[in-house]
Structures are given as C-alpha cells and as structure tokens.
Amino acid sequence: MKSVKLLLFFVIIFSCSVKSQTHWVVFTDKIGVDFDPFEYFDSKAIERRVNIGYDLYHISDFPVNESYILTVANCCDSISYCSRWMNAVSVWTDEHSLNRIAAFDFVQEIIPIEHGFVLCGKEIADAKIDTSILTNQLLVMQGDFFKEAGIDGRGVRIAVFDGGFPYVDTHPAFEHIRKDGRILKTWDFVKNKEFVYGYNSHGAMVLSCIAGIYNGQPMGLATGAEFLLARTEKNTEPFSEEVNWVAALEWADKNGVDIVNSSLGYTYHRYFPNEMDGKTSYVSIMANKAASKGILVVNAAGNDGDSQWTIIGAPADADSVLSVGGISPHTDYHISFSSVGPTADYRKKPNVVAFGQAIVAGKQDLTSAYGTSFASPLVAGFAACAKQVLPQKNAVELKEIIEKSGNLYPYFDYAHGYGVPQASYILNPEKEEIPTFSVIRDDDSWLFKINSNIKFDEESAKKTKHENYLYMAYVTDKGVVCQWGIIHVKTKSFPIIIDNGCEGTQTLQLHYRGYTLNINVGANDEK
C-alpha cells in the first residue's frame, strides 16, 4: 500500500509537468499555390517593392499550401498562425502528434517555440516632470532642423509592435493623429481582433515618442506619419510572442509599412549570448527578410547593460536592423542599463543611440519613462523623417545613412554606436569635417591638443561636460573595439598614455567635437 501511494505521488507530479507545446512546422515547398500581389498587398506595399526592385511575385510572399495546412491541422490540437515568409504554421500539440507531423514528406523541419520576450522599458512614476528632457529628446537629434524644413514623416507608414495601446484613442497627445485618421489599421495578434486600445500601456508610451504632440509641443519627430498598431505581446501568456512578432511583420508588410518600431528583445530565456549573431533567432532572420523587402526595423538594444546578460538581444542583433541604445539626458553618455555590443560574431551594435530616459504620454498626462524602449521610437521617428527626405532609399541604405548621421561618426564604440542621429546630415549629407584637435607624438608620450581655431575656455570647460567629451576606442586589426571610454577634457592640452593592451590593437580612435582621428599605435604581440 505504501509503495502504491508513493508511485501515485510521483505519477501525479510528473503528469502535472508534461504539457503540449507550440512549434513551427516548416514546409518544403509552395508547389501549386497561386498568388496575386495586387489583390493581397496594399498599394503602398506594391509601391515599396517596385521602388527597390523587389520581385512582386517573390516566392516568400506566396501563401502556404492549403493542403499541407489541412493535413497538419488534422494531427494537432490547434494552428495559431501561417507564416508566408517562413512557409510554416505554428501548431499547439504534444510530442506524439509532432512525431506524426514530422513523418510527412512535405515537412522540412519542426522548430520549438518558447516564451521569453522582455519589453525594454518601464514607466517610473514621477510627479515632477523635467520638461527640459521633453525638449531635448528631440533637440539632441536636431529635431528643430526637420521642423524648419517642414519634415514630419508625412507619407511614411510606421508599424508599432507592442504589448497594448491603452489611451491612444483618448489621450490628447494623439489627438492630431486621430483627427487625421492616421491610425490606418490595428490588430491584436494575441486575441485575434481589431481592438488594441487596452492592455499594457507600454505601446502608448512608445507611440508618443514617435509622434505625440502635447500642448503644442512635439514628443517625437514623425508627427505627420501614418500608423499601423499591432499588439504582439502578452505577459501572462508566454508562448506566443515570437509567433505574433513574425505574424505582425507580415501583416505590416501587406499593409504597406515603411518602418517598424519594435521595443522588445528576446534574450536569456531562449538564447545564450553566443547565439546573438543575427542568424540564430528566427525573429532576427525575419527582420533581415523584412529589410530585403524594403522595411526598416528599428529595435531597442535592450536593458541588460548592467545585468549578467549585458549584450543586445534578438532581433537587435540582426544585420539589417537599426539597433538603438540609450544615453542619459543628464550626462549625454551611455545610460548604464542600455545593452551593449558587439554581436556574438563581433559585428558593430548598437548602431545609434538616443535618450534612454524620455518624457512620454502617461495615463493622465505626461510621465517620465526609462528604457531603450523609448530610445528606439525616438529614432524610429527620426528614420521616418529621413525616409520622407530620401524616399528612394531602401531599408539597408536608409540604415547606413542614419548611421552616418550619428554625431560621433565615423567613431564607433559598443555603448554609443555611431552616436545620436543628426537631422542636419539627412538634409545636407555634405558634411565638412573641421579638425578640432591634434595628437602630437613626443618620445614615449602622446600629447592631445585642442586646435587654436576651436573656442575653448578652461573655466567653463570644467563645468560644461557634454561638448568637452573626448571619446576613445582601441580598435584591433580585425575591427573589434576592445576597450573604449570618455574623458572630460578640462585643459587645452594634456598627455595621453597609449595603452595598446588589447591583442593585435592597431588603432586608437579619438573623437572630440565632431572630429575623429585614428592613430596607429602599433600591434601588441604579447599572447
């Protein structure tokens, strides 16, 4: 009797733990499937494809074979989504049924789907709103240049993927968008319905950083853009987010999107740091596919800079994604929580930065919010303006132009990327680079000296930090930045001790007041 009860006890515990799971079932082909792009796509999606010379009858846009779907549907509990781009269906089923599905000759592979997205931001209840941040979150990107030129993202279509958009239908910060009917479509991919104006307020805050106007003051740069709002995330149902993200991307493509803002990241729940190579996670693969179709995905770098994970998550690791890190509005340099690069294969990420603390639309009024979630939409708004100025550029070209517009470019480090994008470069790419300093070698030491044409007052330099930052990065011969930092310059000249401590270091990259200088400091052969 005793042993029977014991056995029963273990069986109960074991059975509680066994469950069905969600999987992608990827098919081998789309043979025998018909597709009419003019029927399926919004006219703007057709226009985008024609602009970049993308095949209107590309196989990835064809629907999934109906007979394959029906066969799989007969073997599983439920099918939640069919992805044209992946040529796959996401199914909810158990191990036994999966084995049956895997045996079909039209099934190429089965990929398990796990939970684990993280919204890259949080609202901090702050009774005292620092209005200077609201002004500066746009001024730091030279938003006034766009304003003077009448650029506000007009005609550009932006999709926002998030956890919900409560009060977007009522808050005064979005009144101008509602009035013009510029929220073109909405879809809740969690509940499969149109209504998205509820749930997690994160999406409303993010949207305000792209296009909000409060009491006449713009909160983002793309106040004239059109919007597609997709609810893709739900905290309490953790198995569907990546599926929803892919589904929303295809939906946005169909509806003619130009830019996608995605303020979320997939990190340790699903991946190891060495898998952040832009090729492993399928959201990264899909983000790259979106770029090939002319869609620029702007993604938050993540908020793991001061956690154990440290580096950027997926899909910010994807090559074609514009990954956005955060800087502090108080110091203008790396805000500690902002995830850093490089990718696992040592590619340069994040690409650019913006304020990691922003003033956003709160439930009642305005509120202060922290996270790269808010840096990302600030840059998405910038990207929309850039797209308005340069409509013929494809997603990859647009990303490169935004990188080049960075206030630190061509200097790069893994915390600041190429710096904060600057509107002046978008409006006039012919940037004249004026040398602001020189570095003179004197025997064993190097002397940093501010050029005489630069106005420099030592007394005020001690107080004013922002414009007196000297950025330093040691770059190896393989192009990897091995260490980097910022020095607050307080005197007109001072010696620099060159530390070529990194293996194979060849270049010290210095950046001061818009000018970048590369110094060859030789190789360090010590192993």
Binding site: L6, S17, Y271, P273, N274, I311, H488, D499, G501
Partner: protein, 235 residues
Amino acid sequence: MKNKLFLQLFVVFLFALSANAQDIILWEKVSHNTEKPKKGINSTSFNHFYVAWGVNTAFLNNETSVKVPASNDYTFGYRQIFRLNNNLAFGFKGQLVKSRFSVTQNADKNVHDSVLHKKEIFLINHVDASLYLRINFDRHRGAYMGHFLDIGAWGGYNFMRQRMIEDITVDKSKTRIWHKGVGYIEKYQYGAYAAIGLNRFLFYARYRVSDLFDPCKKFSQLPALTFGLEVGLHK
C-alpha cells in the same frame, strides 16, 4: 601576465590623466559574454545555494497525526547541477534541515506514550545529501532554468534529536520538559525526492522511506511526507 601589465599601464594612464585634471567618466572593455560560458544556468555546470520551507503532513494511515503548519521544515542547502543536454541534467545537493513535528494530542496518539499534553513536539535537525535527475521541459532555452522536474533519492544523519512536552499545571503555570538525545529516534533516515520547478522556484516533496522511530518501540511513525517551496539563491 598580460592582465597584470594591462592593469599597471591602466593605473599609469589614470594617474597621468588625473595629474592633468582630466576626468575619465566612462571606461569599458568589450564583454567576453559572446562566448558560451561553461558555468552558469543551462551550462555545463551550475551551482547555487537555496532556502526552503515545507510542511510535514500525515500521508499514510499508520502515521501519527500532526498539526499543520506547526509541523514544518526549514532548510538551507547547496545545489550542484551538471548538464547532460538541453533536457537532462543530474546533480547533487547538500542541506541542513530543521524538522519540527507537533503531535496532535488525541486518543489515537501512540508516540512515546498515550499521555496527552498541551503540546508535544519532536525536533530533529539533520544534514542530508541527495542525488537527483533533472528533466527539463523547455525544448529550446538559453541561459534560463525554465520548467523542470527533479526526481532523486536522499539520505541524512540526525545530529539533533529532541522531544519537548508542554503542560499546564494545577496553578495554571506553563511547564516545559526537554528530552535531549532521544534514543528511540533513529540516527539515519533516507527517502525519495521530487520537485517541479520554474526558474528559481521549486515545489518539492520529500518522502521518507525509512522509519524515524525505532520499530521495536511499536510507536506510530512521524509523517513521512514533506511538501514545500524552495527558492534558489541565484540570478
């Protein structure tokens, strides 16, 4: 050697700058996290401390009835996990457990004697070691514990065995009597262990297969089953 040299150079670098009143406001090295770690969650090996609390409850008919949750275990332990693959791992854990059994005072009582007291408590402190197999249900996971089931066996040494009885005397004062080093409580115990877990949290059950009281004494045994919550002290 290289690290030492780097440190020396960096200190000189700092001094040189501070001498000229330049502030280093940020200095970072590239993260080495881009390599798969050998130690850590879901890596080759991982270890962490944990704390747990559970209730001892009568499960079998011939067991002594005890008061719940006054009969409980406080545990502090160390766990080591060795990964075999994404879904299987094995490990061991060592723990210090403070067990308390508050015997229900009723006519069925058959522990030590049948005399009824206001309170009758057995306190048994023991050190245990367990071996277990971990089955993980997350097919694709990263540096993440996920959902898992542990099944294992354990054995322990009872280094403190006490019985306390409390009574109210005629003048309504409280008296407590402690019996230390109680001889009829076995020195060793062993049993089976199972847990279901999500990340740092585990709902566990320990089942004692061995007798706790010397079988020659013919006492009803103290409850063999403990249910509880364990919290891993890790990120």
